[in-house]
Every structure is written in structure tokens, then in C-alpha cells.
Amino acid sequence: MNFSLARATLIAEADVVGIAGERAICDPRGVLYFPDLRLLAVSDLHLEKGSSFARRGALIPPYDTAATLLRLQAVIADYQPAIVISLGDSFHDGGGAERMHQSFRERLEALMAGRDWFWVAGNHDPEAPADLPGETVRELAIGSLLFRHEPSKARTEGEVAGHLHPCARIVQRGRSVRRRCFAGDGGRMIMPAFGAYTGSLNVLDRAYAGLFRRETLMAYMLGAERIFAISGSMLRPG
């Protein structure tokens, strides 16, 4: 297999999870990599969120696209995936791709070159991004996996989704730690948001109601260099 060996040796056992029998690496940078498929999934890039806010009068720094692409670049350089799936809300709004600075567009196109790239439609960006290569799809089934933006309320084995921006919170020694996380129960996996300006929503929030088998819910919280797997019973709301 062509999967980068240097990176593989760094992966702790805890970072590997099963989704409907498919092995995936939960990378602490917030992406999922399926080594057997050479497939990288990333969710909720929310590119051009900064300019989207600026349009409405909040002039937050215009560097979020640059920051997000830089991190994506590093991940892609490590795994060298054959397939990349951007799981929806790739742009913060429909005009995002158009507004993107030329230099960022070039950087993005360079990342896309030589791989199959899928834009899954999200609620923020239901249409194909303007003037960018890649294929726009509503959802995508590969092997036993089903990639879509919004998790469906019906039980779906092998669903990989985004949209909810999960984070988890624990309290240890009287102190509270909140991190973005992957949330999964072995059957379904909801990915953390990757974008530089994306916030997050606690996995215990009502928005997640009915999505997971409570007994097997795990939050894979993102650490600086590793994933921390925390069982659902230890999590706190808020």
C-alpha cells in the first residue's frame, strides 16, 4: 500500500476506530483517513467565513481561508490520499468560492490536482462551488460507508457525516476541558468541523438526539498530538 509509512508509525492504537467494519484513523487534526481506501474525509471547512461575516459588517480577520487551507495541505501531504471527500459546508455560503482570493484558489487547486475530489453538498453550500474542479454530490457510498453532510435520523450503519460540529466536555479535578471531537458509536461517525472559524456543539445537545446508541457512544477528543477516547458516560453537557 502507498500509505505513508512515516506517518503510520506515529499513530497510536487509540486513534484507530471501526466504522461499520471499516478501519479509519481519527487524526487529532480533525480528519478521518481510511487507509484501505486511501480516502481522506474532512468536514465543514467553512471557507470564506471571514468574508461572509465582513459582508454583514463584522470585519473579522480575512485569514481563515488561508489558515484552513494550510492545515489541509499538511494533512494531505502526510497521507497522500487518492480520494478526498469534503463533507459539505465546504464554503460558508453560496458566494464563498467566488469571493475567494485568487492566491487561495490556486492553493486549493494545487491540493486537488491528481486526486478524486468530491464536494458533498451542505446546507451552507447546496450548489457546486463556482469555477472549481471536483465533483459535487448529494451523498456518496463507498464500500460499506455512506458519506453525507447531515446525519439522517434513521439508523444508518456506516454513515459518516458532519454538519453538527461536535465537541465534548469533561470535568476532571474540578476543571473543565472542552475539545472538538469525533463522535461515534461504532456504526455512525460524526466528524468535527475543520474550518479555522468553526465553533462547535456539545455531543450531548438535543441536536444529536437519537443519532447514537448511548451505551457505545464514544467521543474522540482532539488533543495537541493525539486523540483522547472518552466514553459517553463521562461527558458533560454545555
Binding site: 471501526g18 465582513a54 480577520p61 480575512p62 485569514y63 469533561i170 479535578r173 483522547f228
Partner: protein, 848 residues
């Protein structure tokens, strides 16, 4: 209004209108000398600063020029248009404005003056605000935020064109914060509307009156000052330090040991005010007093987190003399005077001598009777501090923090506000801004960057030109690009940025999270609520509460009871030891003759220290080292306050790490600092690797500080405040939380992105300046390091010294905020591992 029992000589040169003379006569009073003098100076066209103790009739003095002028004004003919505001009164507290309306209204009515007085605060209903715009009152009582809003309105110039006086109450407390910066800029604007505008500042005693005198008038030319009238203090207060029968503890802040003696004092007086430094101390003291309250005396609680309704009820009961004691924090600190207080008890160290003077002024609000106060030190170092504060009060020493340069986030807000009111010319506005004392040194380059920031965010990447909030039009004037900008501005005006808070909602026990629930008891900081788990008991609003859970933006509680009660910690309310007081405490340590004034047990403690170790000379820094267990300790005694010590601790541990001393942690108090390490630091100093002098060298404030700062949570917190004030992100309003965290952009994320892509951005500069002055107290640390150069006294000991005991007891109580979050996560993850065994994992083969 306060009574006027003292007779002063009439100043013949002043024209006091006849109705006033009659009124004073009817009351059997006569105007005081400073009231007449202030009137005379104002009538001569001067702006004036009046410094007087509480109870000196300051407020009436401040309004005298306005009232006499309004009394002589020709009556408005029917059909004649309403004039604008004649006098603007600005106070730091809404409650104070309301109080003044009541107190000023009485004499105005008695004298029979045709003067209208109204308040305008955040609570004023919108129909009243609109009516005020059409028919302005003669005297408008308001706050700095409301002034900013008035200025940002298109009719501002007309509204203020008849303005004669601005009366600024509690000026000493206004000028030291960002609110003061906003107000100074507002005043500059008013002066631009009305060049002959006069200001009257009312202040308690301050260290540098000249700073306030400059603040009151336009700095063109720079250095211009208002006139000064000083009224010397009334009767000398009768202050004592509790010489307790009990043992005074080594450390801690609860002063629990003194509860029986405090209760006895309450029993012996009509009305006692008990001041503490933090809200958590207030809760604790209140609880303990009620436990001791066998006679069921009416004792109440008052602090800023409590529900407004509850606070008003307490204030009213106090005014009606229905209470015997109130436990309070700084919410009752400023000039509001109600009730008949005959004793002030100060629990914990007063931290600054001025603060002490003001709090004691609360008792017996009559200048000629001595105020009575008791200081209750919570630990032994506080005994020293109380003694020093007491000496300082007798000496009339005054210390307020030095004024800092005007903040750039506040300036950004003001520039946008000005544009919302009317188009501006950048050259003119620059001159106007520089006429405000805090901005007198502002450079044009910086001002232009601020304007650029307001317009498009001021980023190096010019991406937002088309979204500009203000634009320069062909006539050279800057104007807002669309009305929505002004709307947004109005919602976000002000410089007070609260920590995110949750309402505390009371429900009946057993109802759990269901049901509508009962009253709101007050507000609690979100981060504290997050550490609670359902079933925990905590102390709030004087009750033991049972935590049920968090529902939207509310913390749901029921009646609690039992042991293991947690006391909420609050971010605010911890004042550092003032520079002046620190100096006094060092002096007292060095001079054994002064120990006689101390309680015997404390003097003994110092004697023991002298015997077992050494006491530093006044200007020296003592550093002790000793082993304990399998660790090595270093304790330093700079007496520069907790903030400066925390910064020092961070920097020292970095250096010790580089010197391979393997430091493990540190803890800081107001007085000293302890660092512990695996290696013997004394041996390092001896071998000069590094020497103690090198370790404490001032150069730590260069790169080390910079490197540490960038990752510091303190900087993030400061950035959030700056970003809200500067209008980069919006204020959070109650209930907004519901819209979900994933929708808004958090200040932390913006900070991270901005720092890595444009570290020199003007908002990051403003943030660093703020953090250095505020949370880090860098300037104080710098002064200390320079003062002790060549004067560090190292004492190596076999064991812990008496002086080191208090700080050593703090170890473990307060944790150092660092990279510890990851280890907490690891602990939690390991716990799972331990409890559940290695997780079932998919087949691993083929991975490596």
C-alpha cells in the same frame, strides 16, 4: 442632600441669588466655603476639580453654578422652542444618577427653582428617551455609555448646543478605567460643539490631583489644567485592628476565626457595614454570621452578582434603618449613602489605602464626627498590611493607580460613534481626540491605523474594501456606509465586557429540571457553573443551593443542604496590593521597633523568622531556598501583589527550566512567591549557573515575556475584551447562547488566526498593552526587578522558614494554569481504559 451644619464666611464677591440665600436661612445653614468658592470660580469661567471627603456637601457644590445660573434665566415663553441640555451630570453608577435625582430634586423644589431634572440610563424607557430628545431637561443625569450613545445620534450637535456645564461625579474612579477613556473622548466631542464648555469634577482624595485637573480640560495647549479646590478631611477616623483572642491563621482569606468577635461588634452597634474584597468572601462571611446569629439580627447580603430586585430591597431596608448589618463588596463602594451606619468592619486586607479611606467614609456620614472602623485581617501577612494601611490613613496617604494612556480599542469605538453622528474630517478629529488627556500623546500614524481599522478592519490583506463600515467621500469627509452600521454600533456601545454568565434560577426541590421554576437569584460565571455536577451544593445569594443542571442560559438550582459546600470563585474582585502599601509593609518588616504596634502573636512570628532565617532590609529582596520532601523550594518576598508575582513565577520557571533545574510549579500570593523543582536551586546559584542576580535579571521582560505571552490564556481573555470594545465582534446578549456555539465565531479562534497571520495588527498591539498593564502588572514587576538589582539576599535553610509558611500552605490550593489541560484529558482517557479494559478494536494488521 447632606446636612450643612457648619457655617462658612460668605464670599461677598459671589452673587448667590436671593431664593438660595432664603433657603439656606430657612434651614439654619449657610453655604460652605468650598461651595462658594467653586461658584465664584465657575462664574469666572473656570473649570474646577473639587476634592473633598464624603459628607462635605460635594454634590450641591457641583450643581451650584448650574442652579444659580438657571435660577436667573428668563422664563421660556409659551410657544418658544425648547432649549437644549444646560447641565450634564455623569456618574459611574446608574444607581448614583437615580440617587442624585432624588437628592437634588428636594432642594430644587424647596428653593422653588424652575428647573427640570431627569435621568437617562440603560433602564430609561424608549418613549421617555424620545421625549427627552424633543424637550430636553435642564439637567440630565447619565452615565458614560449614554453620553457615547447621545454623541452617535445625528441630532447630537443640536441637543448639546446650549450645554454650559458637565459635572463629573466620583471622577477618581471613572478615570482609571476604559470607561474613563470613552468619557474623555466624549468630553472632547462636547467641547468641539461648545468651545466655552466648563467642567466640574468631584473626587475623593487622590495621589495626583494634577492628572485629574488635566483630564477635565482640553489639552490644547497640552498641560492645561482645571482649577483645584481641596477640602481637608473631617474628623479623624477611629480605626482599630482586631486584636483577636483567637489564633490568626497563617494563610487563607476567610477570617472564620473572627466570626464570634465580629458578631459581638454587630450586637454593640446600631448598624454595621461589613466590607470584603470578593463576592465569594461575601457569601462565606454572610453564611458564617447567620450561623452565629443567635438573636436573629437582621443581617443582609449585597453584591454585584445578585439579582437587581434583591439588591434594591436590601438598599431600601438599609435606608429605612431596618437592618443591623450588611455584608457587601465594592457594589456599595462608591458615593451612595443611605442609612445610619455607625460601624464599618473591613474583613480581609484593604489592599489600597485610598480604598480603605473611602470605605471608612461610609460610616457616620457627617464630617465632624469620627468614623469608627475595625479591620479584620484574615491571615498574618494581612495583619501587617492592615497595620500599614492604618498608619497610611492617619498619615493621609493616598494612592490610586497611575493613569494609563488611552486605549486604542476604545478609540476605535469612538471613531465609529462619531461617524454615526455626523461625517468627520480626519485632521479635525485627530486634533479633537488629542485634546482628551488620555490621548494627548497619540501619534497621527496610530490614529490613521485606527481609522483604517474602523473602515475595513485594517488588515494587511486588503480584502474588505467593498465591505467598509465608513468611507471617505469626495469631499474628504468620512461617513458611515449604511444605516445598519449605526444600528450595530448602538447595540455594542460601552467598555464593560462581562464574563459570560448564567442566570441562577430557583426551582422547588425534587422538581428537577422540569417545571417553569421560581425566581432568578442572580448571575453566576459560566465557567464556574461548568465545573458543577448535578447534586453538588454551592453557596450563593446567602443560601446553600443544590445544583440541578444547566438549561439553556440558566443554572437551575433548588434548596441544598449538607456538607461539602463549594463556594463559587469569581474572576473579578481581586485587587492587588497597592504599591504604596507594599512599600509600607516592607518598611514594617525591616523595622523591629514598629512590631510593638502588632498583635503579640504576629510580632512573635516575625521574631522567630529573624531567629531562624533573616528579615530583609527595606529595599532588599529576600530569597530563601530549602529542601522539603524530595523537592527543592525557592521562596521570594517581593510584596508586589499577586498579578506581578504570577508573571514573575511564569518567567522564573521558564528560566529555571532552561537552567535544567527541572521546576515543577509555583504559587503566588500578594506577598510572596514559591517555586519548587526537582533539582537543588541553591547549588545552581552557588555555581552561578545561573547566579541569583542573573535569574532575576530584568532581561526576562524581553523575549521570555514575549514568548510566554503569545500562548497565554490571559492574552486570549484580554483579546476578547478588546475585540468587543473595538467593535470587531459583537457583545453577547442573554439568550443568544441558544443560537448555538457553532454559529458564532469565538474570539479565541479569531485570536489564533490573527496571531499567526498578522501578529502586528493594531488590535493585537492593543491587547498586549492591556495585558501588560492589567493582568500581568508588568510595569510593577519591571520596577521591582530594577529596584532589587544587586540587592538580592539569598538565605539557604535546612527547612522551611516561618515567613515561608503562608505561601507554602497555598500550594495545592491554587493551580497554575498552563498546559495541564492535556494531562487532564489523558487522565480521563486512562480512567476509561482502566475501567473498561482495552477497547475492542478492529483488526490492526497491515497498518504498519
Amino acid at each position: 442632600m447632606t446636612e450643612q451644619p457648619r457655617l462658612a464666611e460668605q464670599n461677598a464677591s459671589v452673587a448667590l441669588p436671593e431664593p438660595f440665600v432664603r433657603w439656606f436661612g430657612e434651614k439654619g445653614w449657610s453655604p460652605r466655603a468650598h461651595q462658594i468658592e467653586l461658584l465664584a470660580r465657575a462664574q469666572a469661567g473656570q473649570s474646577v476639580l473639587l476634592i473633598a471627603p464624603t459628607g462635605a456637601g460635594k454634590t450641591l457644590a457641583g450643581f451650584m453654578p448650574s442652579l444659580t445660573e438657571l435660577a436667573n434665566r428668563p422664563r421660556r415663553k409659551p410657544g418658544q422652542a425648547h432649549g437644549g441640555i444646560h447641565t450634564l451630570y455623569i456618574s459611574p453608577l446608574k444607581a448614583l444618577a437615580v440617587d442624585i435625582e432624588r437628592n437634588l430634586g428636594k432642594p430644587v423644589e424647596e428653593i422653588g427653582l424652575p428647573v427640570t431634572i431627569e435621568t437617562r440610563t440603560g433602564d430609561t424607557p424608549s418613549h421617555k428617551r424620545q421625549r427627552q430628545k424633543l424637550a430636553p431637561p435642564d439637567i440630565l443625569l447619565t452615565t458614560p455609555e449614554q453620553l457615547a450613545l447621545l454623541i452617535a445620534a445625528p441630532d447630537a450637535r443640536r441637543f448639546f448646543e446650549d450645554l454650559r456645564y458637565v459635572v463629573l461625579d466620583e471622577l477618581h474612579s471613572l478615570v482609571i478605567s476604559k470607561r474613563g477613556h470613552l468619557l474623555a473622548l466624549g468630553l472632547a466631542r462636547l467641547r468641539a460643539y461648545v468651545p466655552g464648555l466648563q467642567t466640574i469634577g468631584l473626587s475623593a482624595t487622590v495621589a495626583e490631583p494634577d492628572e485629574l485637573r488635566r483630564w477635565l480640560v482640553g489639552q490644547n495647549p497640552a498641560g492645561e489644567m482645571a482649577g483645584l479646590i481641596t477640602v481637608s478631611g473631617g474628623a479623624r477616623p477611629d480605626i482599630s485592628i482586631l486584636d483577636s483572642r483567637e489564633r490568626v491563621p497563617w494563610s487563607g482569606h476567610s477570617a472564620r476565626y473572627a466570626i464570634p468577635e465580629i458578631y459581638e461588634a454587630i450586637q454593640k452597634h446600631r448598624m454595621t457595614l461589613l466590607f470584603v474584597n470578593t463576592r465569594s468572601q461575601a457569601e462565606m462571611l454572610f453564611q458564617e454570621l447567620w450561623r452565629a446569629n443567635e438573636d436573629s439580627l437582621p443581617i443582609a447580603l449585597h453584591h454585584g452578582s445578585l439579582d437587581v430586585g434583591q439588591r434594591r430591597r436590601v438598599e431600601k431596608a438599609m435606608a429605612d434603618n431596618a437592618l443591623r448589618a450588611i455584608v457587601a463588596t465594592s457594589t456599595l463602594d462608591l458615593g451612595i449613602d443611605w442609612g445610619d451606619v455607625d460601624l464599618v468592619v473591613h474583613v480581609g486586607a484593604p489592599k489600597g489605602a485610598s480604598r480603605l479611606a473611602q470605605r471608612i467614609g461610609r460610616a457616620n456620614h457627617r464630617m465632624d464626627e469620627p468614623s469608627k472602623a475595625i479591620l479584620i485581617p484574615a491571615n498574618r501577612f494581612e495583619v501587617l498590611e492592615c497595620r500599614a494601611a492604618l498608619d497610611a490613613n492617619y498619615l493621609g496617604a493616598q494612592d490610586t493607580p497611575p493613569l494609563i494612556n488611552g486605549a486604542l480599542d476604545v478609540l476605535s469605538q469612538h471613531v465609529l460613534g462619531v461617524a454615526c453622528g455626523a461625517p468627520f474630517d480626519a485632521d479635525q478629529l485627530f486634533e479633537e481626540v488629542r485634546s482628551a488627556a488620555p490621548y494627548a500623546g497619540l501619534e497621527r500614524r496610530t490614529f490613521d491605523r485606527v481609522v483604517d481599522f474602523v473602515a475595513t478592519g485594517g488588515y494587511a490583506l486588503k480584502n474588505y474594501e467593498r465591505y467598509a463600515r465608513i468611507r471617505q467621500t469626495r469631499d474628504g469627509l468620512w461617513r458611515v456606509s449604511n444605516p445598519r452600521v449605526a444600528q450595530q454600533y448602538r447595540l455594542n456601545v460601552g467598555t464593560i465586557v462581562e464574563m459570560p454568565e448564567l442566570n441562577v434560577r430557583y426551582v422547588r426541590q425534587g422538581r428537577g429540571m422540569v417545571g417553569r421554576g421560581g425566581p432568578v437569584l442572580g448571575k453566576i460565571e459560566e465557567y464556574f457553573a461548568e465545573t458543577l455536577r448535578p447534586g453538588d451544593n454551592f453557596l450563593f445569594a446567602g443560601k446553600v443551593l443544590h445544583f440541578e443542571g444547566i438549561r439553556e442560559n440558566e443554572c437551575v438550582v433548588s434548596n441544598g443542604a449538607g456538607a461539602n459546600i463549594i463556594v463559587p470563585s469569581y474572576a473579578g474582585g481581586k485587587f492587588p496590593l497597592s504599591t504604596y502599601l507594599a512599600e509600607q509593609v516592607r518598611g514594617m518588616l525591616a523595622d523591629s521597633d514598629r512590631w510593638q504596634a502588632l498583635p503579640e502573636q504576629v510580632a512573635d512570628w516575625l521574631r522567630l523568622q529573624k531567629e531562624k532565617s533573616v528579615l530583609p532590609k527595606r529595599g532588599d529582596l529576600l530569597v530563601e531556598t530549602f529542601p522539603r520532601g524530595n523537592r527543592h523550594y525557592m521562596v521570594a518576598y517581593p510584596f508586589e501583589g499577586r498579578l506581578a508575582h504570577q508573571t514573575l513565577g511564569m518567567l522564573l520557571t521558564r528560566r529555571l527550566e532552561r537552567a535544567n533545574a527541572r521546576p515543577l510549579g509555583f504559587v503566588a500570593t500578594d506577598y510572596s512567591l514559591a517555586v519548587w523543582a526537582l533539582d537543588d536551586m541553591a547549588a545552581l546559584f552557588k555555581a552561578k549557573k545561573p547566579s541569583l542576580g542573573q535569574l532575576f535579571d530584568e532581561d526576562m521582560l524581553g523575549d521570555d515575556l514575549e514568548a510566554w505571552l503569545n500562548d497565554s490564556w490571559m492574552l486570549k481573555r484580554t483579546f476578547r475584551t478588546c475585540a468587543v470594545i473595538a467593535g470587531l465582534i459583537e457583545k453577547r446578549f442573554p439568550g443568544q447562547e441558544k443560537s448555538g456555539r457553532q454559529v458564532t465565531v469565538s474570539a479565541d479562534l479569531i485570536y489564533d488566526v490573527l496571531r499567526s497571520h498578522e501578529p502586528d495588527h493594531i488590535l493585537l498591539q492593543a491587547t498586549r498593552t492591556d495585558a501588560s498593564a492589567g493582568l500581568l502588572d508588568v510595569s510593577r514587576l519591571a520596577e521591582m526587578l530594577s529596584r532589587v538589582r544587586g540587592r538580592i539576599m539569598h538565605k539557604h535553610l535546612d527547612q522551611i522558614s516561618p515567613l515561608a509558611l503562608p505561601v507554602m500552605l497555598e500550594i495545592g490550593r491554587e493551580s497554575v494554569n498552563g498546559g495541564a489541560n492535556e494531562s487532564l484529558l489523558m487522565e480521563a482517557a486512562d480512567l476509561v481504559e482502566e475501567a473498561m479494559g482495552p477497547r475492542a478494536k478492529p483488526d490492526q494488521e497491515g497498518l504498519t
